[in-house]
Symmetry: C2
Subunit: 197 residues, 2 copies
């Protein structure tokens, strides 16, 4: 029995990626077999190879897509005005984007060591691009005289680490709403880099 009703590339393809992302996040790339992914989708392992040339590429594509979505997402909402406004927008965007894609964020950070060197370089490049977006805001803020940041690159990485850390404890049904969390972290970010009056 093959090709049951409604079983198409358009349907199975996304389901493979969703299952792989969830399982990779839950158990780790090396601990998840192609047969387990196939089982989640409801096909045999061999069928997966209609959607990815191999397991490594499946992982890489998930990570690349996530990083590209992240960059495109920010570029789509980034304001052009004052640096302090841009910094607040970045803070809120990062929190919103990352808490809604916890699995992809987790995988894109944890499974870097399972990429081939070439794939690793590509993902790292995208991550650097994202850090550079924030670094540019910080430099602009210094130029405007509104921020006091001695090391913009390091500060950018520090802030991103702090914001991404939200994923380890935030739950949508928890005590704090997402917008409360945003405000809480924006307060810390602002004070950490604002020029003291």
């Amino acid at each position: 029995m093959a090709r049951t009703q409604g079983s198409h590339s358009d349907i199975t393809g996304p389901r493979v990626r969703e299952a792989a992302l969830r399982l990779f996040a839950q158990h780790g790339y090396a601990a998840v077999s192609m047969r387990k992914i196939a089982g989640e989708v409801g096909v045999q392992a061999g069928a997966l190879y209609n959607y990815t040339p191999d397991k490594q590429t499946l992982l890489f594509d998930l990570m690349r897509t996530h990083m590209e979505d992240l960059l495109a997402g920010w570029d789509g909402v980034a304001p052009t005005g004052a640096a302090l406004d841009a910094l607040e927008a970045f803070t809120r965007f990062h929190i919103r984007f990352n808490t809604r894609r916890a699995d992809a964020v987790f995988v894109s950070y944890m499974e870097l060591r399972n990429l081939t060197p070439e794939n690793f370089d590509i993902i790292e490049g995208l991550r650097r691009d994202y850090e550079t977006r924030l670094e540019a805001i910080l430099r602009r803020g210094v130029a405007e005289g509104r921020l006091a940041v001695a090391e913009p690159r390091i500060t950018a990485m520090a802030l991103i680490a702090m914001l991404t850390g939200i994923n380890t404890w935030f739950r949508a049904q928890g005590r704090l709403s997402l917008s409360e969390v945003e405000t809480l972290y924006w307060d810390m970010v602002r004070r950490a880099v604002a020029r003291e009056a």
Copy 2:
């Protein structure tokens, strides 16, 4: 040929743990076989079972030891005076301790999902203990009127995430010395939580 000269429990035991820690950090728990660990030590895989009942316990012991060392390390240097001084001491201690044990920090964070539920609970408990140490400092600082922190628990987690993030980029031979990094981050921490004048 068995038991070559100088091959004792006192020597092989630590070497097994060192090799396991390094390999787990580099490739991930699931991707490292007992045979690879044994190969690094220079014994056959079976010999490892003189030092650990199984692979899972080997991982757990590495993580537990790290977390206990972390807690004991802080308790050994924690000052009793003003909260602001304690916060600076915590910041500098955390940076120094974690950058010197990058492998253990990495493994203790990344491999949580490979622990059995019981072992996971123990490690999580130790992590919470550590967070609570910082939270207590923040609460004290608020009581003293020197810190402005609306959510001490969340702020503690945010600061720890920011500080631990140093491990992703810091290199001992890099442009910035460890004490320069300490000062840089202490500046951010202080501004993020200090009561504005």
